[in-house]
Amino acid sequence: MPKASRFNLATLCAGIAFLYLPILILIIYSFNASRLVAVWGGWSTHWYAELAGDAPLLDAAFISLRIAMISASAATVLGTLAAVVLVRFGRFRGRLLFAAMIYAPLVMPEVITGLSMLLLFVAISIDRGFWTVVIAHTTMAMCFVAVIVQSRLIDFDMSLEEAAMDLGASPAQTFIAVTLPLILPAIASSWMLAFALSLDDLVIASFTTGPGATTLPIRIYSEVRLGVSPEMNAVCSIMVAVVGVAVIAASVLTKLGAARGAPART
């Protein structure tokens, strides 16, 4: 393999710096004692302490976490089923439409998904609120889950399933005893992706939410429109830290699981 040239190294470093510097600057500013951006007032955790007293913000964070938990779990179940259908069921009537409904939401502009969901809820006169956001997020996230689990199922060693069936297991038993444990890492990481997508979503939630269900992104958005504030810097830094730790932990766990768990389980 040709070795990396100096140009390659430079582009890579510049690319990584471009991706991380803005977030780093944000975190540094969240510790600025001064309210003014231009003035460095020394290090301080003042703005973090301020957050603890911001009840509407904490409420919004709690609502967002609950929505993300429920919709990620529902999306994981539905998306895994969808992936099994796509990979294991061969050709059936309506497969093309099914596949289209899985792939289209991946790239569909959120404004359109949000608008169409809202019009559905109005047409069948459901009051908008917590549960309508859950339904919307589940629908969006299940497509991402389906694609991730699908690619894992395709790599799958079919002889394991065939062996189980030859030994008299029913398709359902085979799925639970053989397939499910082997695709578990993919399912776990897609749950996390679904969780992150839900926690992050502003546009779809804005369309489908109702009174009493203001999510954290909606709250942040309304503050951010007014300009930069040190409190917002602090909120955002906390969210970055939580997500960063979770993702790194998850990837380390999957690495360990892949290295140790796979041979033991088979």
Partner: protein, 303 residues
Amino acid sequence: MTTRPQRSFLAKLVVRIPYAWLAAFFLVPFLIVLKISLSQTAIAQPPYTPVFEISGGLHGIAQFFAGLSLGNYAFLGTDPLYFLSYVKSLEIGAFSTLLLLVIGYPIAYAMTRMPRQLQPILALLVILPFWTSFLIRIYAWINILQHDGPLNQLLLALHIVREPPVWLSTDTAVYIGIVYSYLPFMVLPLYATLEKLDETLLEAAADLGCPRWKTFWLVILPLSAPGVIAGALLCFIPIVGEFVIPDLLGGSRTSMIGQTIWTEFFANKDWPTASAVAVVLVCFLVTPIVVFQHQTMRGIERD
């Protein structure tokens, strides 16, 4: 291919649950958008004439079709605001996809040149910002680009500029925000195809005396075409409908179509017009979406 199996009740259920969910919450809503885009604006709650009265029987169906009108679409044609908004969105979508390719390609290529054991870590580093909230990443740029923000401080300190330039509320800020947010979507598909590239082809080209730039142009670039197409579509389609980035970083003059739908809907409460704008946007995006689906399905089934 598996042979057509005997479907048990359970197997049918496995198909029907996700199918029904997607039909109910993805397909049906679209049909409703289509219907409402064809109805008249009514000053009521909800602000449009009813969708469908099944109780009316045959007469109701006749009334349903009689009630449809292309008025909202005709209205889009009369106001240049909508036309300009579509043009602006497609222009920003196309130009930023090109920018992303030019910036993302060298990064993806450089990743494949790194030692094997380092590559998964680099891929994780590229994807990690995608996991942090979209809104936060845009907000981080508001911090940087504001009038007395770090970028202007740096530029003034280095004597590159005398007066702090205005960044926020400009097209430049929108482009920066888009490139920043979508870079992982461009780099990862490119990396995935470049990584599978057969090294012996490059060696063969080198042995036959082909200069490196020519190898790149004649061998590497054509072979990475699937990645280029996947990355470009993965970026272009959502960028055209982008709302948050132009809303927070762009000026009042940069109105992209996502913002137009948002304003029609939330500020003007004109649901039929918002629906018509959305339907026309989907018409623009239908070709790239179909190509994207085709590519993804082929990509997944080939692997």
